[in-house]
């Protein structure tokens, strides 16, 4: 029997690249890390502007979103019991290594900030200092995950390397604003609502620009496993942002916030799931380009 050969070149249709093996926990982590990171920025900005009520919500969100992050990352490992090997090196060439250290440091200062918020007294003073550090670390925490994906040979990620960070930063800002709008009485939540709308527009605009940049590779956001979360992200984020403009009343803000949080999560699922589809589509070696 003569085996089949692919007409368009390639070797029996086998992909050049191997598929990424990251599980859904990683998408949830991307979402929570972004939520925690930009919530810290929002909390710090709210504190500076004298909006202590919003700051309280934001720091609560940052801390609560942070807590599940390390376990989510550890269970995704092939050998979870060796997770601490991440902490034996600090490696600038590895976004995952840098992210590990950012997350570790962010966890420490965010815990201190949350303790200051809850306990008061001497802890409040320490907490204020920690808040500045947490806000500073929150920015890379919300965006390094985009670099992590872009720094691979997977076309749909690597060719979007200059857009993915904006998608993730927008998505994270939308989610942090949404959480602030949900947890804060409406007379104090206006900055959160504005941030949520801003983040949603940034996410949608960056995602649109990313697909234009990707050209034919953008099909992995329209077919296959990423199609539904990508559609959901556009719909939920768009609807959430529109509703948030009417968010002067708290129930409306809460509904909009839920939509935006869900849209942000869907966005991370879409991006993560596009990777394996794109890797599978490299049977013709020509698709792996610089």
């Amino acid at each position: 029997m003569t085996a089949q050969t692919t007409a368009e070149g390639g070797y029996y249709g086998r992909p050049v690249l191997k598929e990424p093996v990251w599980k859904p926990e990683v998408a949830v982590y991307f979402w929570l890390g972004g939520l925690a990171g930009i919530s810290a920025v929002l909390g710090f900005a709210a504190r500076l502007s004298g909006n202590d009520r919003l700051a309280r919500s934001a720091w609560f969100t940052a801390f609560a979103a942070l807590l599940p992050c390390p376990p989510l990352l550890i269970v995704d490992l092939g050998r979870p019991e060796r997770f601490y090997n991440m902490l034996r090196v600090l490696k600038p060439t590895s976004p995952m290594s840098m992210g590990t250290w950012v997350l570790t440091a962010f966890g420490g200062v965010t815990a201190a900030a949350a303790a200051g918020e809850l306990l008061g007294g001497i802890f409040a003073t320490l907490g204020r200092v920690a808040e500045g550090a947490a806000a500073l670390l929150g920015l890379p925490l919300a965006t390094y995950t985009a670099v992590l994906l872009a720094d691979t040979s997977v076309p749909v990620w690597h060719h979007a390397r200059h857009h993915l960070p904006f998608v993730f930063a927008g998505s994270a800002t939308a989610s942090a604003g949404a959480a602030g709008a949900i947890l804060t009485p409406s007379q104090h939540s206006r900055p959160a609502r504005l941030a949520a709308i801003f983040g949603a527009l940034l996410e949608l605009g960056a995602a649109f620009a990313m697909e234009r940049r990707l050209g034919p590779d953008a099909r992995h956001y329209h077919e296959g496993a990423a199609a539904r979360p990508a559609q959901a992200a556009r719909a939920l984020t768009g609807a959430g942002a529109a509703l948030m403009t009417l968010g002067g009343r708290r129930p409306v803000a809460m509904a909009a916030g839920v939509l935006l949080l869900a849209g942000s999560l869907a966005e991370r699922f879409a991006v993560l799931r596009a990777g394996p589809s794109s890797a599978r589509a490299t049977a013709d070696g020509g698709t792996v380009r610089g």
Binding site: L17, L202, G290
Partner: protein, 280 residues
Amino acid sequence: MAVSSGPPPYPGEVLVQPVAGDEVGFFTDSSICIGCKACEVACKQWNNVPVDDIRYLNSSYDNTGELSANSWRHVSFFEQKRDGGVAWLMNSDVCKHCKHAACLDVCPTGAIFRTEFDTVVVQADVCNGCGYCIPACPFGVLTRREGVVDQPAETHVAQKCTMCYDRLKGGDEPACAQACPTKSIQFGPLPALRERAQRRLDVLHQEGVDSARLYLADQSDNEIGGAGAFFLLLDEPAKYRYPERPITPTKRLGGMWLAAAAAAAVALAGVGAAAASGRR
């Protein structure tokens, strides 16, 4: 090297004594590969690589499929109907041991390292199976070793060709090169191997094999900065499951961090402006 004048004449016995600091590698000449798979077997035997991924694939004599944690050498059989018969393109694939290796760059534990022979090796006892090297590799070489219970210490971690690191340290050539009966797989100092490959290419072109070409022999047609394993092919790279122009994604990391910094700055500006406007 103990051999002062480079590798012995082609073809013939390879007798090299690599020492630390030598830049060594493989030259795989697919024009004399007979598809015997002695390299696959020798590799599995020497390195105790499991055989659990051999299954019927309906792709000529290739039931190995592709390189993976459990296949460190892979003999491809590209089968073409020609004049009523069948023509084979056979080639023994292996990790390219890139001079600029994406897998090594992204590894967050330091499990993947560059040896004193300029090869790239995964330390199975350090790897925690994060999976980052798998999509980073532009050749799709790496996977995690799954479902093997007789070597529990090495399951769920990334594995690939080590260029027989233990044999190199002992002064031997890799098992695949030693087992290859036609010297299609040749091991030695890379500069000498490149010269030899060029001579072989010239001979083939003189004999009218116009389709013969070198793949990864120099740095001009790729981003990986040169390879520790290069090939003489008889058709376009895609027919061997190779990317035409392999990339090193990690070479562009600086630009990615700049984009991330810009994105973070935009987010900061947006949140800051929102907080300031909410003050009123």
